[in-house]
Symmetry: C2
Subunit: 168 residues, 2 copies
DNA sequence: CTGAATTTTCAAATAATATTGAAAGCAGGA
DNA sequence: TCCTGCTTTCAATATTATTTGAAAATTCAG
């Protein structure tokens, strides 16, 4: 397969992969494009490569920066802004985990805490099942939370070396 | 908070939580409803509680069964089918992990294998960065894959007891 | 300060996705 | 077999999410 085809295929797949995980297609595609680009790219470069509008690129780049996956950079002599992606996949993954945990898991667990305090007769099977479900989610969520914290803080080398050996 | 309010809140939140993870709102809501229901529910029960159409309930229930999160059951004397959700959150989570791994991670890694074999001069920085990115994703993906396999096979008690202690 | 280059915003248009509901399908009882 | 109650399908419709593009804002060199 030629590089140009492989690039297209990768960008396309990373895009659909993203949509299955609640990330919009263009954002994932821009990320893919920057991941495989050895040099910084401008908004115009991205617009051209992906055939999307300036506004779209602008918004999604901002989002990527917000997530900590992309950063602005400048090229001496150029007026435009350029962008570059974090290339270390381990860092990419831990960044995403950290952000999603903060944005979604943490608030969810907070809510479960409130809901587990529902009033009502704990002998009533409706009430009982509800509380049990909330507690189950809380328990699991807190475990996941702790585990992800450790994972995110761990160095890749430590993680791979020690944990993998431990695991089998 | 009253049980009725808490239920609504939970169903609603589980629904939006789902949409952030590539799961459709109604499917997540049906799952939520069944999770907190101590008794099996029929399609009609679900339609009524969530105010959605029969077709919608039917399709999403099928999907949930497909995922292994819900199963059909019957109530003696009743002609209708009833449905019940797996209540053990640990099992729910490992089922979801297993399925998503199979449906998304595994195919992605297979693709990366193909793409990493791109033809072209490995001295060329475009080719080099592309291959490095593919390899990075593969390496990470394979680790995640192995780790998730262990996780999915592990018993909750073992996992919590041993791994958590290890993790500190 | 001026104006050209660049970036940002956001209402409107478009595209993608989910939902409805009526018709078709199916299973069991009489 | 035919009827009845229930389930499934799917084209039409509605909803939600994404994208566009032109105007406004910003930046910066001269």
């Amino acid at each position: 397969m030629k590089l140009s085809d492989a690039k297209l295929k990768f960008i396309d797949s990373w895009g659909s992969f993203g949509t299955h995980w609640g990330i919009n297609r263009t954002m994932a595609q821009i990320h893919a494009l920057l991941l495989i680009s050895p040099d910084p790219m401008s908004q115009d470069d991205i617009m051209e490569q992906l055939s999307v509008s300036r506004g779209n690129v602008n918004m999604n780049i901002r989002e990527l920066i917000d997530w900590g996956l992309v950063e602005r950079t400048s090229i001496p002599g150029e007026r435009k802004e350029f962008f570059i992606a974090e290339k270390d996949i381990w860092k990419v993954a831990t960044t995403i985990i950290k952000e999603r945990k903060r944005r979604e898991l943490d608030p969810m667990l907070k809510l479960m805490d409130q809901l587990a305090a529902v009033e009502g007769d704990k002998k009533d099977k409706e009430v009982k099942q509800f509380i049990e479900t909330m507690n189950g989610i809380k328990r699991f969520g807190n475990q996941a939370d702790k585990m992800l914290d450790v994972l995110v803080k761990a160095e890749e080398s430590w993680f791979v070396g020690t944990l993998m050996k431990f695991f089998k």
